[in-house]
């Protein structure tokens, strides 16, 4: 088995036993990237030199018996909307093509402090707006499972990098499904943590009240470990909460006896592909056979989730993206006066989807429309949160498909609304602020991965991880038996 095929947890064990050096690991991934990425285009920026330097430093620390953490020397890829000091952070936008941040995002600081070399910055839909990574201003990322298919989005690069063995694990961000949907399309595990669990400081904002950084990995235990590294209060993010972070590894117990699993019919309605549906139901059945109790729950407000999401997210985005005016950093297109400069810069710097969402959000906040759109959406959001809280008095985990279909082809979703509907199952956890995890649960007839989504209540990542770990164990046993 090649080094690059190993999971992060395996690599960590090999490093700990001195079976391999960090430099060897990083070199293996760089070779892999150099060989594959011209086709796959998971990365926007490859930081080979920095990664090798960090790996050598890590090896020295290990040699001296002073690793910075258990994960010292295990490399990682990060989505290009996390601020990296001295390494350009483009957000997949022409607007920030040349932007080099002078500071590290809190999560970047944490992985650096853990001694982890950063392999590069991964491709994404421009400003995280999209579900296929086709909205990147620079490249289309190809699904490593089938290069004719999109990897999903917006963290398409981060999911593809892991699935295509160009990184053992990665960080993505999820505003309405941007970790879970590409994880599902690429056949890897992705987790959107509870809102407030992971600091957003340095994450370039799309929709501030929904954005959350989370881990993507081959295995549930990788995702648990990476979450451990990035979770926890950060004074620099006022919305980050001060709860104590549990030991996520401790929740990796393949025991679901007594676990109450909720199934909501709203997540299995029309538009859901039959093969996806049966794969998800099979996963539920597996868990049920392992001792979980399956309960029907009702989440009728799910029907309003997409509309609510697209009003709130775009409203916040319209303000968050207003700062790209050509004055201080990023692209500047000259004009006769400052207003003309703003207009030209924004006209050239933003892509179509970003402009569409800015206009939508601006409209939703405008005088005379605010009450009907933004305010109403916030009210519905409150109801959706309550509905979830209510459901979680009856069940521990709600299981749904991650996406209505498996990965689609390039250019297949031409109508933006159709594209928005691929988020139909993933937006509600963001609106409710609860955690959601996607993991593979089979493949369709075209061998494309199918993802199952698990949702739990606020700060119940341990329950999600336990359920996912149990399912993973069942699946692996099955594979072994086959």
């Amino acid at each position: 088995m090649e080094l690059f095929q190993r999971t992060a947890t395996e690599l960590q064990k090999m490093l700990a036993c001195s079976q391999v050096t960090s430099e060897q690991i990083v070199q293996a991934f760089i070779n892999r990237i150099e060989a594959e990425d011209s086709q796959m285009r998971a990365y926007l920026t490859i930081t080979a030199k920095e990664a090798l330097g960090a790996a050598q430093a890590s090896d020295l620390r290990r040699k001296q018996g002073q690793p910075l953490s258990k994960w010292d020397g295990v490399p990682i890829a990060v989505k290009d909307n996390m601020s990296t000091k001295n390494v350009r952070t483009t957000c997949g936008s022409k607007m920030l093509e040349e932007y080099i941040p002078p500071y590290d995002a809190t999560v970047i600081g944490r992985i650096k402090n853990a001694g982890m070399p950063i392999l590069g910055k991964t491709n994404m839909d421009e400003f995280a707006m999209g579900s296929s990574t086709e909205n990147s201003a620079f490249a289309k990322t190809h699904n490593p499972v089938n290069l004719q298919k999109v990897p999903g989005g917006s963290s398409g690069g981060s999911a593809a990098a892991v699935a295509g063995f160009e990184a053992p694990w990665s960080l993505g961000s999820d505003t309405g499904g941007s970790i879970r949907q590409p994880a599902s399309f690429c056949g890897v595990v992705g987790l959107k943590p509870t809102y407030g669990l992971v600091s957003r400081y340095g994450l370039v904002a799309y929709a501030s009240s929904l954005d959350q950084i989370g881990p993507i990995g081959h295995r549930v235990q990788d995702v648990a470990a990476l979450l451990q590294l990035i979770a926890g209060h950060d004074y620099k993010d006022s919305t980050s909460v001060t709860v104590s972070v549990p030991d996520y590894q401790a929740s990796l117990v393949a025991d679901v006896s007594g676990l109450r699993i909720g199934i909501a019919k709203e997540f299995f309605s029309e538009g859901l592909n039959n093969q996806v549906k049966s794969a998800v139901m099979r996963a539920v059945q597996n868990l049920s056979q392992a001792g979980a109790e399956v309960v029907d729950v009702s989440l009728p407000l799910t029907d309003y989730a997409i509309e609510t999401y697209y009003l709130i997210a775009t409203a916040e985005a319209s303000a968050n993206l207003a700062r790209y005016d050509g004055v201080r950093y990023g692209l500047r297109v000259a004009g006769d006066d400052s207003v003309a400069m703003f207009k030209h810069t924004r006209a050239e710097g933003f892509g179509t989807e970003v402009k569409r969402r800015i206009m939508l959000g601006t409209y939703a906040l405008s005088a005379g429309y605010y009450d009907a759109y933004y305010k109403k959406a916030q009210q519905v959001r409150t109801l959706i949160r309550r509905e979830f809280e209510q459901a979680f008095t009856q069940v521990d985990v709600i299981i749904t498909p991650t996406t209505p279909t498996t990965a689609f082809g390039f250019g297949e979703k031409k109508d933006p609304l159709e594209m928005y509907l691929s988020d139909i199952y993933t937006v509600t956890p963001n609106l409710a602020g609860v955690p959601g995890l996607s993991m593979p649960c089979g493949v369709d007839s075209n061998n494309l991965p199918i993802g199952v989504q698990m949702i739990a209540t606020h700060f119940s990542e341990p329950v999600l991880l336990r359920t996912a770990f149990a399912l993973e164990q069942i699946q692996r046993k099955g594979e072994f038996n086959e």
Binding site: Y235, K236, A322, R328, S338
Partner: protein, 484 residues
Amino acid sequence: MSEYEVVIGLEIHAELLTKSKIFCGCTTEFGGEPNSHCCPICLGLPGALPVLNEKAVEYAIKAGLALNCQIPGYSKFDRKNYFYPDLPKAYQISQFDLPVCVQGRVDYELEEMQQSTGITRVHMEEEAGKSVHSGDNILGSDFSLMDYNRTGIPLIEIVTEPDLRSAAEAKAFLEQLKSILQYIKVSDCKMEEGSLRCDANVSLRLKGTKEFGTKVEIKNLNSFRAVERVLEYEIRRQRQVYEQGGSIVQETRTWDDSRMITVSMRSKEESHDYRYFPEPDLVPLEIDLNWVRSLKEGLPELPLAKKHRLMEQYDLSSMDADQLTTDQEMASYFERTVASYTNGKVVSNWLTGDFSRLLNTSGLEISKVKVTPQQLAELLRLIDEGIISGKQGKDVLTEMFCSGTAPEQIIKDKGFEQISDSKALEQISADIIAANPQIVQRYQDGEDRLLGFFVGQVMKETKGKANPGLVNALLREKLKATDS
């Protein structure tokens, strides 16, 4: 001709005196190399997030309490969206519908009359940056440079009810407000440095009517003098429009200093839609009302209360008490002086007179004055004891002001000591009387005012050092004696 009533409401921005900015740790110090007091947060770099400075909240609440406001326990921040090069995020973090302080009142006096103006709200927001144009103004410039040092300095915006009825009232209110904010040390209120700024809404209505007339917003009333002058102009302008049968357009106007008129900036139609919405990067502000209570208890005596107390306690005139209490530093100086020298009236006379004159001519702030209140008290005691005359005292004070030397030392060094030795003065008086027999005769014939001549001669002979009271008594006695 119809009589019009003037209706004015003010919006005042005051920079708070916190050491660091409202949402980051950068210094709020005035000046500095352009863009040297900046960080990713106040520059609005992608990904940076605001963290609220608690001190700014404390200062805003203190201001609200001093303005008799109510402090709701729950408040939040909102984004006010507009594009301008000096606004790094293209939105200002401000407060829209749930400000930190509401429903207050400022009491003040105008020509001895008690006045009261309602305060609608006090809200917190962040300061914008500064444009530096290559030419004289934005239109005549090839380029503009931006300085974001000021960006993120905490501001409070104080909005009054439309209670003010004249330009003079507006000015008096504003002076009282400034005084209050300075007393509680939340803002230095320097209009010339821009740490206090004022906009006004002005309208006229026929006396007796209840509905407001169409209002005009006037921007940038940037000195106390300007407030009165600009408002007077605008009131005159609106009155003229009405008297000529015209109507006022709702618009924003600004003062053109060169032409001494207000000019239109933008009409109502062109006004911004700020698209306020709750700031998702900050959590709502839950204010501990016990904390508010302790802040309220910690407030110092405010200017108007102090004025009335000083008038009562030291029998001061309203004008003098005003002059002593407008500036908190002056009031404190007065109180520290009367702690060592109990005749408040005398202290007041000196402070409002010579001391203030010296302050004005030197351009010093009281805090920078070298004379300590104890030294001033000592000077007044020396005058009382007759060591020096009141007139000499003025010279000694001037010297104290320049050098900071103690009064006794100056008196010794400069030979200011008064001659109160009656033997010496008796001899000099006798000599002068002897040298001027004709004038002595005229005095004795009833020209009383000629006593002054003899006093003057003695003063001249002693280079002004003679104790005038003593000289007067001596001469009167001697001239009488000659008569007998």
